[in-house]
Subunit: 354 residues, 2 copies
């Protein structure tokens, strides 16, 4: 979910600036930006009176019928081309959980708790056992997040998908107290940024990864697993970790690090007079990222825009709350600070600028 705009993915098109890494992976960022602009014109022409678009700069909120203090929050997303790796390796039990957890995190940034989820599975040739494995992953993650799997659609479309291919998307609906929606204006210089660890690429950067690691390498050993297994590592839900942290610390704003990486996702959680300064030495980077950076000779900007580089979710907390926040859940650590920003300065700085 992106603020004031429709999401665009493609493991790439979410990032609004052209990068060499994306271009090399065959995804057109300029086209993505143009599509978003065209979509925004539609919304400008008409939106429903119960949409709460302007609230905190986040889209996707709708006034809960009969309750002026709460809002429904909805988000649609797909797994992206991670599914091509799953299909090639015939590992069907995790992409459903990738999708659900991605969506849970997307609405968690506005503090929403999930209510229900619906999936859309499109296949070239319906293999019931495969479809059931995929949906079982959706169901498992829904259960883990206390989210109903309310429905779904399985579409067999032989003319559109190759026999062994499939696409998987889903929609989550959650609920939030409107007064609990984070306000980026509350963020001030001196606040700390807590990072929650990623376990791998999650659901972004796969067009790039697939351009750098060919399928014939996916069974190669890497970091104690195969490269394919490392690439398929399951996108975690941060819901429980965030709720644990909020019991002990005041959380001012949050960001799910998806397409666009730290560089593009963190700015939405900051007022324009603030910047986020990260110290990369403060968190461990899973080996797959070093491998991708090395193979692609990715620049500083490329790596932190195309990949999450080890941080899956960020939270801005008052400095005095930072130790308690970092101690509230495994793997959480202070990864940076909010500083004053002069006009024209970037909103995200990552040291060292290697």
């Amino acid at each position: 979910m992106r603020p004031r705009e429709r999401t665009l993915r493609g493991d790439a098109s979410e990032a609004p600036v052209v990068t060499d890494a994306y271009g090399r992976a065959g995804v057109d960022i300029a086209a993505g930006n143009e599509a978003v602009e065209r979509y925004q014109k539609l919304s400008a022409a008409w939106s429903h009176p119960d949409q709460l678009d302007s609230l905190g700069g986040f889209g996707g909120l709708f006034r809960l019928p009969g309750d002026s203090k709460r809002a429904l929050v909805a988000s649609t997303d797909g797994v992206g081309t991670k599914i091509l790796i799953a299909a090639e390796l015939q590992r069907y039990d995790t992409v459903g959980a990738d999708l659900v957890n991605h969506c849970v995190n997307d609405i968690l940034v506005v503090n929403a708790d999930p209510l229900f989820f619906l999936d859309y599975l499109a296949v070239g040739k319906l293999q019931p056992a495969v479809a059931a494995q995929i949906v079982a992953g959706v169901h498992r993650a829904c259960r883990d997040n206390n989210c109903a799997l309310l429905g779904g659609e399985t579409a067999e479309m032989p003319g559109l998908y190759a026999p062994e291919h499939f696409d998987l998307a889903g929609t989550i609906v959650g609920v939030v107290q409107i007064e609990d929606v984070p306000r980026r204006e509350d963020v001030i210089p001196g606040d700390a940024i807590i990072g929650l660890p990623s376990v791998g690429l999650h659901t972004n950067g796969y067009a790039l990864a697939r351009s750098l690691i060919a399928p014939d390498e996916w069974k190669t050993q890497f970091a104690g697993l195969t490269l394919g297994e490392v690439l398929l590592a399951e996108h975690p839900s941060y819901h429980a970790a965030v709720r644990a942290m909020q019991k002990t610390a005041r959380v001012k704003s949050m960001s799910h690090i998806t397409g666009g990486g730290l560089l593009e996702n963190v700015p939405r959680t900051l007022p324009s007079n603030a910047k986020a300064v990260f110290e990369a030495a403060r968190w461990p980077v899973p080996p797959i990222f070093d491998e991708l950076c090395r193979r692609g000779n990715l620049s500083h900007t490329e790596r932190y825009r195309a990949l999450n580089m080890g941080i899956g979710y960020t939270l801005v907390v008052p400095l005095e709350d930072a130790p308690r926040a970092a101690g509230a859940t495994a793997g959480a650590r202070v990864v940076g600070w909010v500083e004053a920003r002069d006009q024209g300065e970037p909103q995200v700085v990552i040291h060292p600028a290697r």
Copy 2:
């Protein structure tokens, strides 16, 4: 949305019995049934306590937070292979409306009013002007149905879709007073069945249609238009017509005639001791259906299962309300009756059995 099960489409897989017409169109009904059975096992193992699955036999309901008398209703669907015709003819402005109206009708059968919609658009190669035309169709139909277009996702996945291909799916969320959810038990022998006219195939039967009408014929004149235009005729929303009818007649149960046709969709609106008897002479059949039946030499069962054959939506009303119901909206007419059913008899009979 189907009762007590996840939906399955593919312009075909929604129909739970193998038919020759489907088989000829390359879609595997048996596989669809097996997938549904496997999905049902997942739901049986765990479902969320706020899911109202058993209510009236319809799935997809979730208790509205903080309001014990209302429920949210959600449904996910795709346009199916109708998009392959749209892509070939480069007509991008109607499939979005097909999708929204299909979803509006799907939740209308439980009497829900739409709240909001989210779309999922997946493309091989992102062409912003094309994507914007597709989403403009979504936006237009949302506005026409007073439904917020709350968000969406556009995914560019060159490895999964051919450059000129796309897939379009969406999720609708609506709200209903739980006491207004139709109860099929209220339907009794002697009730009348009102039919609302279809304008064409709507969003089902396209695998079959494409097997019978090759792309090189889509520009051929047919019934004052081209065959392609006839095939792309926009799936209408029945929301306004149904609400108009409910002002003057008691509506006991309703059915959206999608994949499976009259034969598979109407039974869900009936108790097991009742059958629906249709008189085909009572409604006009758009010429495209006769053309498809002739070309495919479709049997009685095939035509009424793969195609809507001119009826897009049915409503069961008390006999004494039938004239008022039929007079409440253009095109509505009495198309059949509910009769007592003996065990073993079919639940839908269509005369004449040509």
